[in-house]
Symmetry: C2
Subunit: 419 residues, 2 copies
C-alpha cells in the first residue's frame, strides 16, 4: 500500500470541483477527450502490463484462484481492447442535454426538463481492471467525474491505468481530478465513499452478490443495485420441444458465468413427459449438470437430486436446477419466491399464458420465447453497459449512458409570481 498524500475525502472534494468543468463539456469535446484517453492507455501499455505483473505476483503469493488471476491479467492485447472500448464509448451519442419534457403553463412560464450529468459517479468493484477504464469512460461520456474503488488485488494495475487517464485529461486542458481512485485507502476508502453523500451523487457496485449486499446495506450515497441473477426459464404446457431445448441450452450454456444465464428451468406438469427428457439430454450434451426434483429425476437419467439451496442458487457455472410445477400459477409463485427479479422467460405458444407471464412476473426484463442471454446493454442497442439494475428506482434492467444522467427543470419567466 502506497502512502497516500491526500485523504479520501479530499480526493472526492476535488472530484466534485472538477465535475463542474466536465458537466459543461459539449459532445465533441467529450468525444475528443475519450480518444485522448484511449491513446494514453495504449501509450502506457508497457507500464500497465508491468504494474499488472506486480499485482499478479502478489496474487499468486496470496493464493488467488486461477479464475481471479485470469480476470486480473492484462497483456498487450487486453490493454488494446481497453483502449478500443473507450473509443466505442466515445462514438456513442451524448446523453446530456436531451429535452425530456416541455410545457408552457397558463401563466406563461416555460418549463423544460433536461437531462444533466449526475455530477460525481462512484463505483466499488472487484479485481477487474477493465472496470476501471469502462466506468471512467462511461462517466466522462455522460458528463460526470468519477471516483473509483477497485479491488486491492488490482491496485497497481488500476493505479497505472488511472495515471494514464489523468495524464490524458491534463494534456487536454481538463482538470485531472475528475478521475479519482481510492484504492490506496483499502477498506477505509470504500467506507468513506459509501458515506460521501453530498459529494458523490450515485454509487454503482459491480462484483459479487456479497459486495453488492455490503454496498446496499452500508451506503448512504444512493446506490444502483446491479447484478445477481437467479434467472428462470418456464416451459409452458404448449412449449414446442425444439424451441424449449434450444433456448434452455443457450440460456444456460452459451456463457454460464454471467448474470443473465439461466439458473432454473420450470416445466409445466402437462408437458413434463414430453419435454423433460429431451431438454435434460440436450443440457447434458452441452456439459451441464441438471439438479432436478423427483419428477425430473424420474423422467430423465443422470439427474442430481435438487434441494432448497438449488432453487435459490446463482450457480454461474454449468449447473442448472429443474423443477416440474403444476401450472403457470405455480411457476410464477416459484419465481416470486426465488427470483432476483433480473430476467425470466416463458416458452409457450399459448397467447393467454404468454400475456399473463409478461404482465404478472415482476422482473427487470420479462421475455417470451427468447433466451435470457439477451438481457444486455449491448444486445438492447445501448452500445455500452454500466450494469444491469435489479432495483426499481431510477433504472431497471440494462443501463446505458442515459442511466448515468439525472434531470433538471429549467423554468423561464417574465416576472411571474404566485397568487
Amino acid at each position: 500500500m502506497t502512502v497516500a498524500t491526500t485523504t479520501a475525502r479530499e480526493r472526492m472534494l476535488r472530484a466534485k470541483d472538477a465535475s463542474r468543468q466536465i458537466a459543461r463539456l459539449d459532445d465533441a469535446r467529450k468525444s475528443e477527450i475519450l480518444h485522448a484517453i484511449a491513446h494514453a492507455i495504449e501509450a502506457a501499455a508497457a507500464d500497465v502490463v508491468a504494474a499488472n505483473a506486480d499485482d499478479l505476483e502478489r496474487g499468486r503469493t496470496s493464493g488467488l484462484s486461477t479464475s481471479l488471476l485470469d480476470r486480473l491479467t492484462l497483456d498487450g492485447d487486453r490493454v488494446a481492447a481497453l483502449a478500443a472500448a473507450v473509443r466505442d464509448v466515445a462514438a456513442l451519442p451524448d446523453p446530456v442535454g436531451r429535452v425530456l419534457e416541455e410545457r408552457t403553463l397558463d401563466n406563461g412560464l416555460q418549463l423544460t426538463k433536461v437531462a444533466v450529468p449526475f455530477g460525481v459517479v462512484g463505483s466499488i468493484y472487484e479485481a477487474r481492471p477493465n472496470v476501471t477504464v469502462d466506468i471512467a469512460a462511461l462517466a466522462l461520456r455522460s458528463g460526470n467525474a468519477v471516483v473509483l474503488r477497485g479491488g486491492t488485488a488490482a491496485e497497481r494495475t488500476n493505479a497505472a491505468l488511472v495515471r494514464a487517464m489523468r495524464d490524458a485529461l491534463s494534456t487536454q486542458g481538463i482538470d485531472p481530478e475528475a478521475i479519482q481512485t481510492l484504492d490506496e485507502f483499502g477498506r477505509d476508502g470504500a467506507r468513506e465513499l459509501m458515506q460521501a453523500r453530498g459529494l458523490v451523487d450515485v454509487l454503482v457496485p459491480r462484483g459479487s452478490a456479497q459486495l453488492i449486499e455490503t454496498v446496499v446495506t452500508e451506503s448512504i450515497v444512493p446506490v444502483i443495485e446491479t447484478g445477481a441473477g437467479v434467472v428462470h426459464v418456464y416451459l409452458d404446457a404448449s412449449a414446442p420441444v425444439d424451441r424449449a431445448r434450444e433456448i434452455v441450452v443457450n440460456a444456460k450454456a452459451q456463457r454460464p458465468s454471467v448474470c443473465n444465464a439461466a439458473e432454473t428451468v420450470l416445466v409445466h406438469s402437462a408437458a413434463a413427459e414430453r419435454l423433460v427428457a429431451p431438454v435434460v439430454a440436450a443440457l447434458q450434451d452441452a456439459g451441464v449438470t441438471v439438479h432436478g426434483d423427483e419428477t425430473v429425476a424420474a423422467l430423465a437419467s443422470g439427474v442430481v437430486p435438487a434441494d432448497e439451496d438449488d432453487w435459490a442458487a446463482e450457480y454461474l457455472s454449468l449447473d442448472i436446477a429443474m423443477r416440474v410445477v403444476d401450472d403457470l400459477d405455480e411457476a410464477m409463485a416459484h419465481i416470486r419466491r426465488y427470483s432476483t427479479h433480473h430476467t425470466e422467460s416463458i416458452i409457450t405458444d399459448d397467447p393467454a399464458s404468454l400475456e399473463r407471464f409478461l404482465a404478472e412476473v415482476d422482473s427487470a426484463v420479462v421475455m417470451a420465447n427468447a433466451s435470457t442471454r439477451f438481457t444486455d446493454g449491448g444486445e438492447f442497442g445501448f452500445g455500452a453497459e454500466v450494469g444491469i439494475s435489479t432495483q426499481k428506482l431510477h433504472a431497471r434492467g440494462p443501463m446505458g449512458l442515459r442511466e448515468l444522467t439525472s434531470t433538471k427543470w429549467v423554468v423561464r419567466g417574465a416576472g411571474q409570481v404566485r397568487r
Copy 2:
C-alpha cells in the same frame, strides 16, 4: 398504544402480497376504488374527528406546540377536504402501462419499456393526518400497495382514516391488506420499515429535515429524499427594481412555511445601491425580518446582522438572509456552498447571465425571472404532488404520480437465441 396483533414485518408481507392485485387493476377500476375511499372517509367523519379529539388531548397534555396542534387538527371541513383530495387523485391519468420506449432488434426481438407500479410504497412522516390519506391515494392510483408510518401524535386519527380506507377496499372486493399502518409499533415500526428491503420498494420520508436525514441515513430500502429548501433568489446587475421586489416578496412572504419559499437573497454588487433599499423596504412592509451582511445593513435600515448560520438557515418563517456578492460567479459559489439544491432563481435582463445561471446552477429547479414558489407539483401541472425530490436518482424536483412508477422491459421473441 394499542396492542398489535400482527408484527410489523407480517403487515409488510401482507402488503406485498396484496400489491399484486393492485398492480393489475385497470385505470377505471382504480378510479372507482378511490371514489369508494373518498366516500368512506366522509362516512367515517364523526369517528375520525372523535379519534382526532383523543390525539389532540394527548397532544395538549404532552405539550405539543400550537402549530403542531393546528396541523394535527381535523374538523368536519378538513375531513371533507381529505375526501375531495382523493377524488382529485382519482381524476388524474393512470401512470401505469405507458410505453416509454419501443424497438425491434435486427434479430426480430421486440422490446418495449413500460411503466409499472413499484409494488409497495412506504412513507414515514410526521403528525399530519392528511399525509395518511394523500400518500395512500397516490400509491393506489399508481398501482401500488402502501405502508404508512405516521407520527405517534396522530396515531388514533391515522388509525381511523386507515380503517375507513381499508373498509372501502373490502367493499370493493380488494384485499384491504394493500393499506397498512405501522403506527402502533412506534419507533420499531419505522426501523422495520427502513430495513424492509425486498418487501418495500421505495420509501418516501415527509417532514422535518431531521426526519429526512434519519431515513436517508438508516434506510436500506431505496429512499427518495424530499424537502429541505435553502432556496436562493439572485438579483443580477441588470435586475429591474420592480421585478426584483415583486419576486423576492412573493418568494418569501406568500407562504413562508413551505420548502419552495426563498431563504436567501443575493445581490450583485453593481446593483446593490439601486436594489437593496427598495427590496428590503418591501420585505419589511410584508412583515419580513431581513438578516443582512454589512453592505446590506449599510444600504437599508432595520437590518439584523447576518452570520454564517443565516446563510445555511431554512427559516420557514418571515425571515430572510441577504448578502451582496461581487458578481454572478460569487453568487453561484455561494449557492454551491449553502443551497440544498431545491430551487434557485435569477432575476436579470442579461441573456448571458441568465443562460449561465440556468446551465451551471445544479438544483432540481433553476429559474429565471420567476418566483421560487412555482416549484410545486400542482403548479407544474402534475395534478398532485408526492413531494419535491432534492436527490438526483429516479426523480428530481416536484414528483407526481409518474414518479411512483418503475419500468419493466418486455421482450417478445420467436425462439431467438444468442450467438
